[in-house]
Symmetry: C2
């Protein structure tokens, strides 16, 4: 479950701009703020099932975007390479690497 | 027009996986293979207007994806930084930079 939460947090980070406002609200309460389904349901005055269905659909959408755009996969690969690269650069190079890390 | 073509080629490169098969076919004939609207219309046995409308809508979708995900903008920035970085690395570092360039 922790692994899934971490993955969903990353996918949300990369693709949240493609979601609707409601999808963003539910996902961010559930995954970032650790609200329960019941608490979200109460907050939005909808059924727990409605929140659950919405979150499941959104998770599937995020996985679908990832399967098409691979932003998370490329991010992991680029983080690994930038970390390696740090052994082979001067101080000036290091500050450029930090700028590259901020881009992701 | 050349500038627009270059931009559309890049946006297509980044976001084509989010388009439908028909959108991909029209865009790739028009922008990559330099077919005219009339030639595409003939190929698919539809009106020239239908091809034009489809391409205009697809261009707008690509711009919309770019406004949300900024992949082209980040690519330009990362290309610039990686090029700078080449002055500050050893040979081993250079081969890592080449791997990073291939990721984009």
């Amino acid at each position: 479950m922790l692994e899934k939460t971490t993955r969903m947090n990353f996918l949300y980070d990369f693709y949240h701009s493609l979601l609707t406002d409601k999808q963003r609200s539910y996902m961010s309460l559930y995954y970032l703020d650790d609200f329960s389904l019941g608490e979200i349901a109460e907050e939005y005055e909808v059924s727990r099932q409605a929140v659950y269905d919405n979150i499941k659909r959104t998770e599937a959408m995020l996985e679908e975007y990832e399967s098409k755009l691979l932003l998370f996969k490329k991010f992991q690969e680029s983080s690994r390479l930038l970390k390696q690269l740090k052994s082979f650069v001067s101080d000036e190079g290091l500050s450029i690497i930090e700028s590259l890390e901020k881009l992701d």
